[in-house]
């Protein structure tokens, strides 16, 4: 599903250049649930941004579902993001003057799905994350866990090939974190490919595979026995 080869990325900061990713090789099959771990500055967010086409690598190849991702115009990148990727952010990033339903419907709007169909689809995804009753509420009226669930519903609404979650539980307490992870596990059970960036051990162990990043290189890549989040909820 995802394949990257010898990925390099450096940031220029004044006269110094900061080499963040130093040759990453990585492959994820369809249906995997991968945790990308590492301390801050290890390059894990940069990697996720490149995977999410929000940033471009200096060198290296990136293939997503057989499509080579390179030299994208902004328009093309927007199109690919919309079609291939779902994003879940640490700070939820819901649009605060739009209701939960409208937030979820947004990616569908960009896919030019008709108004009625869009609303129905969005509502069914809200139902899936258990927030059907909250459809008309604004993000400010929701709790952190609820917000993240809306964000996950939004990410799933476009039926992406890969779900990218950047510290999805970073702003949540542990109980809500487990709820969110439970949701992510269930989505994964349906066969969706998910990448989770985290620095929390327990969250990482709820995935099926852990990739350790340190100073811009992968130091460890292992399959693990998945811990189900259900039991903590």
């Amino acid at each position: 599903m995802i394949e990257i080869k010898d990925l390099h990325k450096s940031y220029k900061m004044g006269s110094n250049s900061l080499h963040v990713l130093k040759g990453i090789n990585f492959k994820a099959e369809a249906g995997e649930l991968v945790a990308i771990m590492g301390s801050s500055g290890s390059g894990k967010s940069t990697l996720l941004n490149i995977l999410g086409m929000l940033d471009v690598a200096d060198s290296g190849a990136y293939t997503l579902d057989g499509v080579p991702i390179k030299d994208l115009s902004e328009t093309k990148a927007a199109q690919y993001r919309n079609k291939f990727l779902g994003f879940v952010f640490q700070s939820f990033n819901l649009i605060n003057y739009k209701s939960a339903l409208e937030n979820v419907a947004l990616p569908l709007y960009y896919q030019k799905v008709g108004r009625k169909e869009r609303q129905e689809k969005a509502l069914s995804y809200l139902d899936k994350v258990g927030l059907k009753e909250w459809a008309t509420h604004l993000p400010s009226e929701l709790s952190g866990g609820q917000k993240q669930r809306v964000a996950i519903a939004r990410a799933m609404a476009a039926e992406p090939k890969v779900l990218l979650a950047d510290e999805p539980t970073g702003a949540l307490d542990s109980t809500t974190s487990y709820e969110v992870m439970d949701l992510i596990q269930k989505i994964n059970d349906e066969g969706n490919t998910i990448l989770v960036v985290t620095h929390e051990e327990d969250i990482a162990h709820m995935c099926k595979r852990i990739v350790h990043l340190k100073d811009g290189v992968i130091v460890e890549d292992k399959k693990i026995e998945q811990v189900r989040a259900e039991q903590y909820v």
């Binding site: 919309n82 990033n93 819901l94 990616p107 960009y110």
Partner: protein, 419 residues
């Protein structure tokens, strides 16, 4: 463009900080208001001046004789000469594109005071010997009876058409006018009609105190022979009298043996030239109105542009989210441009409405206090309003242009990082 969701979003954005939106809108509103009011005031002034010209055919010149100032063909300078009736035909024959040539004679005015008597009443009026065509060049409304006709000319009938002012001075109120006689310098003329002129300038009263008699009867009664006092010449609408003027005067110089370079022998007044001078004043006024209006509008537009920039800045993160979710850059740009155009047009419309109300108010004020000199019914045409709307549309587009570009210049990853 007519997408329900997009419009909902535009309204959401603009109403989210309603106070700021209104303040911004005020700038544009004020600009277009000034533009409309200035144009209307200019139009009112123009209407006033035009009314002063009355219905006079403006493509007209008046021509009269003076003394020659150069000797020519053995004739001395300072020679007195007169136009003749035959000159009229000569002009017709030699100068094309003329509509009317009216030879005129006059008693009173600058050629001596006329003396009109009826019974025990006496008045001094301008008395004109005219052809029927003069009514097209110096329009008047015949209020009773009829105007001079060609049979009067042929038969040299001693008939007269008198103005309302003459009537009110020589007759009792309600007295029958038609068929009565008035004595003009000792000669009796029968009154066959009365007229009223629509002039609005200072000569208004004077214009109602004129007496028109057939040209031929005038010449006979007052001993003018073949002489013509002056001429009123009107050109066809397609050609201007100012251009034909030289030809006409050339013909006259030739016929009266005047030195071709003697420019003072024939006096003339070119109404069209005067009218054009006033016309160019109107053009100037309009230009100033547009200039001032658009300048004021411009500052309003800059205000809109500024606010749009701030809005974009505030929404940087939101734009980042949208782009991460797959919104096309062009779609974002379009959104911001439409917000800007929408805001500009709505506030501009408000300005137009306010301007129209003010003009309406001024008009009803003018109606209630009576006519004001040189200012009649200020107004703006539909053309001007639609022009203003076009200006608004373009300026809205311009105002949104920079903010829209700055919105998509930020890369989504940076936009997402801003708090």
């Amino acid at each position: 463009m007519f997408n329900r969701d997009r419009w909902r979003e535009i309204l959401e954005v603009l109403t989210s900080n309603i106070g700021r939106t209104i303040l911004t809108a005020f700038g544009v509103c004020w600009g277009i208001f000034i533009l409309i009011v200035l144009l209307a005031a200019g139009k009112g002034f123009e209407n006033g001046i035009r009314a002063d010209f009355g219905d006079i055919a403006t493509n007209t010149m008046f021509m009269w004789t003076r003394r020659t100032t150069k000797p020519y063909e053995g004739l001395p300078k300072d020679r007195v000469f007169e136009f003749k009736v035959s000159d009229v035909q000569a002009i017709w024959d030699n100068v094309p594109n003329l509509k009317f040539i009216s030879p005129r004679n006059q008693l009173g005015g600058f050629r001596g005071g006329g003396n009109v008597i009826r019974g025990i009443r006496v008045g001094a009026y301008n008395v004109y010997g005219d052809y029927p065509e003069i009514i097209n060049q110096d329009p008047m409304t015949v209020t009773s009876g009829r105007f001079i006709n060609h049979n009067d000319i042929k038969a040299k009938r001693k008939v007269a058409v008198i103005g309302q002012g003459v009537k009110s001075e020589l007759y009792e109120k309600g007295e029958e006018v038609l068929g009565t006689y008035i004595k003009i310098q000792g000669v009796n003329f029968m009154v066959i009609g009365t007229y009223k002129k629509k002039n609005n300038d200072g000569d208004g009263e004077e214009a109602q105190k004129e007496i028109f008699v057939p040209f031929t009867s005038f010449s006979q009664a007052f001993n003018r022979g073949e002489d013509v006092g002056w001429m009123a010449i009107t050109a066809h609408d397609g050609s201007s009298i100012s251009q034909l003027k030289e030809d006409i005067i050339g013909v006259m110089k030739n016929r009266h043996k005047i030195h071709p370079e003697d420019n003072r022998a024939i006096g003339y007044f070119d109404l069209y030239e005067q009218f054009n001078r006033v016309e160019s004043l109107f053009v100037g006024l309009k230009a100033i109105a547009y200039l001032v209006g658009i300048m004021v509008l411009l500052s309003g537009i800059i205000g809109v542009s500024n606010i749009m920039l701030i809005v974009v800045k505030e929404r940087t993160k939101e734009i980042g989210i949208r782009r991460a979710l797959g919104e096309q850059p062009w779609s974002i740009k379009k959104q911001i441009l439409m917000e800007s155009i929408f805001l500009t047009i709505i506030s501009g419309m408000t300005g137009i409405i306010f301007g129209t109300l003010v003009i309406y108010g001024i008009n009803s004020l003018l109606d209630s206090v009576g006519p004001v000199d040189m200012f009649i019914s200020p107004s703006v045409s539909v053309g001007v309003v639609s022009g203003a709307l076009m200006i608004l549309m373009v300026s809205g587009l311009l105002a949104g242009f920079i903010p829209a570009n700055s919105a998509i210049r930020v890369r989504p990853i940076e936009a997402l990082r801003t708090e």
